[in-house]
Symmetry: C2
Subunit: 335 residues, 2 copies
Amino acid sequence: MTAQEIAQKAGVFRGTVDRALHGRGGVNPETAERIRRIAREAGYTPSRAGRALVSREPVPIGVILSSRGNPFFDDVRQGMLDAREDYADFPVELRFRALRGYRETEQLTALRTLTDGDVRGVALTPVNSPAVAEAIGRLAARDVPVVTVNTDVEGSARRLYVGCDDDAAGRTAGKLMGLLTGGAGHALVVVGSRAVLGHMKRLRGFSEAAGLEYPRLTVATVENGDDDDESFRAVKEALAAHPDIDCVYFAAAGAVGGVKACRGRVAPDRIILSDDIAAHRELILQGSAAAAICQQPRQQGYRAMKALLREVLIGQRPETDTLFTRSEIKLRYNL
Amino acid sequence: MTAQEIAQKAGVFRGTVDRALHGRGGVNPETAERIRRIAREAGYTPSRAGRALVSREPVPIGVILSSRGNPFFDDVRQGMLDAREDYADFPVELRFRALRGYRETEQLTALRTLTDGDVRGVALTPVNSPAVAEAIGRLAARDVPVVTVNTDVEGSARRLYVGCDDDAAGRTAGKLMGLLTGGAGHALVVVGSRAVLGHMKRLRGFSEAAGLEYPRLTVATVENGDDDDESFRAVKEALAAHPDIDCVYFAAAGAVGGVKACRGRVAPDRIILSDDIAAHRELILQGSAAAAICQQPRQQGYRAMKALLREVLIGQRPETDTLFTRSEIKLRYNL
DNA sequence: CTGAAAGCGCTTACAG
DNA sequence: CTGAAAGCGCTTACAG
């Protein structure tokens, strides 16, 4: 089915079909409705090739990542470039903004800048705040789809979330720890902050799996502010306070400092990290930790950008509103 | 850079450029060479959109999988369909042939049938034999690229192999077993056949990793012919003969029968399977085995078909001749 | 052997 | 508000 055939059935010219179907205005409302109905009934989807061939102006897509100083996002970014490759026949311009951390005002500013440059779609690692949700809503109202990556924002009109299932990651870590300890041990779970939803989900998942399958595995918790120095101190302290602790799960960042504090006190084969960033790979390769629970950052970037481009370039919306990446367990030999 | 611009530089018509660049014949050799040189120097790649728009005849692609009666290949097939989706703007016809097992003559017949139907590219799970390698060579000579999936064939002109790194899979299993047993145990490694290269690689990898890191972990081996009944008997026998065996790695198929033989004798938390086919998932979910080392079958199909279509449809050859998928460790919570 | 044209399905000025 | 045409980059008959 082509636009030409729709035009014939509707008794108009194919230019008019195009205008009606894409809401470019300047079409009699009744004619437009008739055209849309015919297209719907015929199950018409515009040909990707025809569309690509005629696209001259690059389509701007905004990307806001909290990636400054955080190597984890290198892979996310690479995944986005992979997806862009899949649409190499379209002129697309990815506009990256790298922010440091998750500050609301900075993110709102970045969003506004992109919006002024009238991007046609946005991928971002949102700060979980009402103001950000609202900004996303304004974009959605202008038919600019927003996809959240790696972390989500509550109550927003974002089109899709692509990221980790923190609950599953925590449970996987819990089960693995049960296996590493023969089902009996005293675990320390190190989170960045109890205020971060994802960290709490991992902690809860860990406790659940451990409690369910390994009743003789106990769980203590400590915060490290996602910082290595802080992590060293906090873990050192926790190990001193609880002499029975014999295994550690780092649910977030700060593992390098924390692992240092474990030296000579907790067996490396009972230490689990999160994410396989370079520093963690090194810890694993040198035998200072057994495993890392990873969240497929490249897939996160790929899926998010693929969905965004699919919608913006060929008008196909994602079928779901959440896409979880798998929790991968990496040891020295499958890094 | 467009074909039109090449034509101008070469002082010919753009139809001639097309014929010269794609070797369709009917072009003066000197003119053709001049055109090719100009195109090369200009780094010309034909536009995917232009090409897609003009393609009417479906491009036939042959797929031969040893998938009959083997659910593992459901995912491989799905991955191939995913890749086909990425080239939805081209008319492509995937011609699947599902064979039972790896019999040379049957595979050669299937290859010949496809060849007669003049496919433009082939993906297959090859039997590792000179005759198959030769058949691949004949296709290559006719400019029909062949990609091997999941298993490879020695000394052939295949364009690319996409599959498991059996060595890494075995090492990962060995390391994991060391972790599960606290570094001291007596392992039984169950392979299908010592004649299968992949199985031996996994066994060797397992022993290497175990020997390197866990000198107190010993390794015994048994064959099960990839069959569940045979597996039950062989494992039962091995466990009786070696009373000290306390952990088992199933490096290939036949785990369902083998696990049955372990009941009450080897702790489920010390049993590792290979691949997350439905039967294995069930074993893991019901607590009869701890983990499965998986080889990303969907990725195998996806990468293989993507590379094939990329070459056949837009003329870009793969940059490498081997693509390993990762060995994923799956527990109950990250299946 | 090569020129000249038509056409794939779409979008976009331009007329009216 | 809508018709009529041009053009994106390519391939493919068709002439000569």
